[in-house]
């Protein structure tokens, strides 16, 4: 008997959807817009993460060593830093490499090169460039270096300077910007989700209103709440799934077009490539959102008619 009830609910839901014609089409259209907004937010979130990662990659802390520091001692510091969990990578630039790079940067500046020659020797320091997983971690890395200073065999510190202080303000602002952007982004998502549910609810309620006579008779002849409510929830779910499939279908040409036009704007982030590479995830999110939106909107929309 339970299977009979489930079958009738499923068939009833499908029939409601198929027979409602223009009302079903309007509901699908509204949900398509809603899910398209959710889909856009997925791309915006991915773009934001990509852009912020690119910016984070440009920020680092440089540790400069005295000219008398032995390479073995510098590499020992590198090794200690790499063991820290908050450190993403450490790259070593020897004094010779620094000099070569300096000469290349100033190849057209003869005055500077002449001054360098007159100084004689290599005035540049060897350095370690430290990148952290999160900009907020740089302070702890600097504290680590200051707490356990690198010493030469003679007991003198081999660290000349750490440029964290100069970059601190930039790093702090970046960390704040990242946190604020994520929080604002999350708030926007919640706001759009609530607006989406309200719009879908109003549309589904209109669709259910056209069946209010049917619902009234069902209640008065003794239909259970599940029998009354079930088909409309199934209709809501079908509407949500159809809308999700429509959005997925429309996203392909949209991302192809937009991706070609905008890939140069965002440092190489291509919308079409992201869509193709993350299709399973986007499909999963949109289908689930469509089902949830349709079901929740239907449950709230029909509650009023269950009170008889």
């Amino acid at each position: 008997m339970e299977w009979m009830l489930i079958k009738r609910v499923l068939v009833g839901g499908w029939k409601n959807f198929a027979r409602s014609g223009a009302v079903s089409a309007a509901t699908v259209l509204i949900m398509t817009v809603t899910l398209a907004i959710i889909g856009s937010l997925i791309f915006i979130s991915a773009l934001l993460t990509y852009t912020l990662d690119a910016i984070k990659d440009k920020v680092d802390v440089s540790v400069y060593f005295v000219t008398t520091a032995a390479e073995a001692d510098i590499l020992a510091v590198k090794d200690r830093l790499e063991k820290l969990p908050q450190v993403k990578s450490v790259s070593y630039t020897s004094a010779e490499d620094a000099l070569t790079a300096f000469k290349e940067r100033h190849a057209n500046d003869q005055l500077t090169l002449q001054a360098l020659n007159e100084l004689g020797g290599n005035p540049l320091d060897a350095s370690l460039s430290v990148k952290a997983d999160d900009p907020g971690e740089y302070e702890s890395i600097v504290s680590f270096l200051e707490a356990s200073p690198a010493l030469s065999a003679g007991g003198a510190s081999i660290v000349d300077r750490i440029n964290y202080a100069q970059n601190k303000e930039v790093i702090d602002r970046l960390a704040l910007a990242i946190r604020a952007t994520r929080e604002i982004g999350f708030a926007i998502v919640i706001l759009f989700a609530i607006a989406s549910i309200l719009i879908a609810f109003a549309t589904v309620r209109l669709a259910i209103y056209t069946a209010k006579d049917e619902i009234g008779v069902m209640r008065l002849v003794g239909a259970s709440n599940m029998y009354v409510q079930g088909p409309f929830i199934i209709t809501g779910i079908i509407t949500g799934v159809v809308a999700a499939v429509l959005v997925l279908f429309l996203m392909w040409p949209a991302t192809l077009y937009a991706g070609a036009k905008t890939s140069g704007w965002f440092g190489g982030f291509n919308l079409a490539s992201y869509y193709a590479g993350h299709f399973a995830l986007i499909f999963f999110i949109l289908i689930l959102s469509g089902i949830a939106l349709g079901a929740v909107a239907s449950v709230f929309a029909i509650r009023k008619y269950l009170k008889v």
Binding site: M4, L5, V217, M218, V221, G222, S224, N225, Y227
Partner: protein, 153 residues
């Protein structure tokens, strides 16, 4: 047995539709209730069906106090009462067959029972050839279809 025990029903902002009514209907008894428009006939039936709740007093159906029934038990109670609605309550976008079958499905009758009973009832009232016709607004025909639906239930 149906028993109304000092039942009063007032609607918001209006006078009493029913005032201190006490009546009983014994099993297998046939009762006609007549009265002018606004006398409370429809309200009486709505209270019996639990479509409305009494302002005062109690309604009993076979010793069940209808007031005390929770919402979750109402549908079981209503399956025990056959009602011919004043406004027919037929569904315009369904055929005659579907209107009768619809009520049977709502109360949980099996597909086999529906397939067996509905054609029989349509045949009984000479509407077998109209089974697949969508319900029209002919009041005479509507009453007949409404009665058929309740007969089957």
């Amino acid at each position: 047995m149906i028993y109304f025990d000092k039942v009063t029903k007032r609607y918001d902002g209006n006078g009493a539709a029913l005032e201190d009514i006490t009546l009983s209907v014994a099993p297998k008894e046939f009762v006609s209730i007549v009265g002018h428009s606004g006398a409370g006939k429809t309200t009486l039936l709505k209270l019996l069906l639990a479509e409305e709740r009494p302002t005062d007093g109690a309604v009993f159906f076979e010793s069940i106090n209808v007031n005390d029934l929770p919402s979750s038990a109402l549908h079981h109670y209503r399956r025990r009462i056959g009602m011919v609605f004043q406004d027919f309550r037929l569904i315009p976008n369904k055929t005659a067959y579907e209107n009768i079958a619809f009520a049977m499905e709502a109360v949980g009758r099996t597909d086999d029972e529906i397939k067996s009973d509905v054609p029989y009832i349509l045949e009984l009232v000479n509407l077998a050839d109209k089974a697949l016709n969508v319900i029209t607004i002919d009041r005479g025909r509507l009453v007949r279809d409404d009665i058929e639906g309740k007969y089957v239930l």
